[in-house]
Symmetry: C2
Subunit: 234 residues, 2 copies
């Protein structure tokens, strides 16, 4: 960005608007976040949450979906709005207000790729993320909190889990998110009401008794909720 550019910027407009897109995935018992390594100043070389300015005539979720698509080639995923950050000095080069969205993806079904604006990307376990560019650590903390709140009341964990999962993978997702251990027997009693499809398939390549595979029964869930026979609660 050359200097003229910045002068024009400040002369005509006092602020601009961006969205940041926090893409969460689950593997190896850990919730990961997709980060990009910045290759332009400011914060060149540092890890950041993917984001971009909102285009004219583009709705905010649409902008977030564009970023998501650029990185994952995934389309039309459910986006969850998180917090909006607008502190006057949060961006060193001008006033940029950013609205954070998060998306949950089945990590084994995508191959996140570098894009024009992100030549190095990486999945990093949420609890191991250190310093980030801008105020992105704040954005992550706030957004992960929002994710945790939704994990308690909506069946969005199944957006993170693979289509077929074991009950232990399911349990470990919550154990990682809330940093607590649950008793296996009690956990299974609690989730008994959740509508699952029990497959005949089992885990393979494990050196112990293989676990049964389950799927979330989306259509049965919708029916149950419609008839007020069940509310998801963890």
């Amino acid at each position: 960005m050359d200097n003229n550019y910045k002068i024009e910027f400040e002369k005509f407009f006092s602020y601009s608007l961006s969205v940041d897109c926090l893409i969460f995935g689950y593997k190896d018992g850990q919730i990961h976040l997709l980060l990009i390594k910045r290759n332009i100043d400011p914060f060149s070389g540092e890890w950041a949450i993917p984001g971009d300015l909102v285009y004219p005539d583009e709705d905010l979720p649409q902008a977030a979906n564009r970023i998501l698509f650029d990185l994952t080639k995934l389309n039309d995923l459910k986006l969850h709005q998180s917090e909006t950050f607008g502190h006057p000095t949060r961006h060193p080069q001008g006033r940029v207000i950013t609205c954070a969205y998060f998306a949950l993806i089945k990590i084994d079904e995508v191959n996140a790729v570098a894009s024009s604006w992100a030549n190095e990307i990486s999945w990093i376990p949420v609890h191991e993320i250190g310093k980030l560019a801008f105020d992105h650590k704040l954005i992550l903390n706030s957004t992960f909190n929002n994710l945790k709140i939704k994990l308690k009341t909506e069946p969005i964990c199944f957006d993170l889990l693979p289509d077929k999962f074991t009950l232990n993978e399911f349990q470990q997702l919550y154990e990682y998110a809330f940093k607590t251990d649950f008793n296996k027997a009690n956990f299974r009693k609690k989730i008994k009401q959740i509508p699952f499809v029990a497959h005949n398939e089992k885990q393979t390549k494990v050196k112990h008794r293989p676990a049964k595979l389950f799927s979330f029964d989306q259509s049965k869930y919708i029916d149950l909720v419609r008839d007020e026979l069940f509310t998801f609660k963890m």
Copy 2:
């Protein structure tokens, strides 16, 4: 820098940013929202949520606090961020992104006043609010939902209740918010753990047995939470 570039640029950054401030109060067993009657187009003559453009060098909560102060002369209240709305056509005169905040006030301690930009204001029970200007009905619905979620997990009900309240006023606040009736004896058992100051005073001017007055014991609450002896849950 050539001229084309500049035109592109202006187009790109021709948004403006506002905050809307939803001010809730509680009286007569109902949660009320402070609305203003617009006296300029668009939507002149219609009811709307108070809001204003964000000033340069002003943080978002600061802008919301400014609106709150203009209308109520209250300062430094806790503001809760709600949803951000940015649909390209949500404002008929241009692209305006708005970030919604809500504040909870003790309605009997303020005297909401008209201001330069709001010559008619009114407290309206939340469940009786009809059509509003712009997409303000959407904003209200989303924000009242956020309020309800926080009412379940944080002791913010005491920001709405008067300093000294009866247990029935307390109960009725939740009954109004969630549109359900609670059993009195069971409700009182549930709230037994909440730290209250029990006053010797009683209700006056009621034509039945006067109820005892209580206050929320803020400092005890903070101690209990710090020591993880209590979490607010309704």
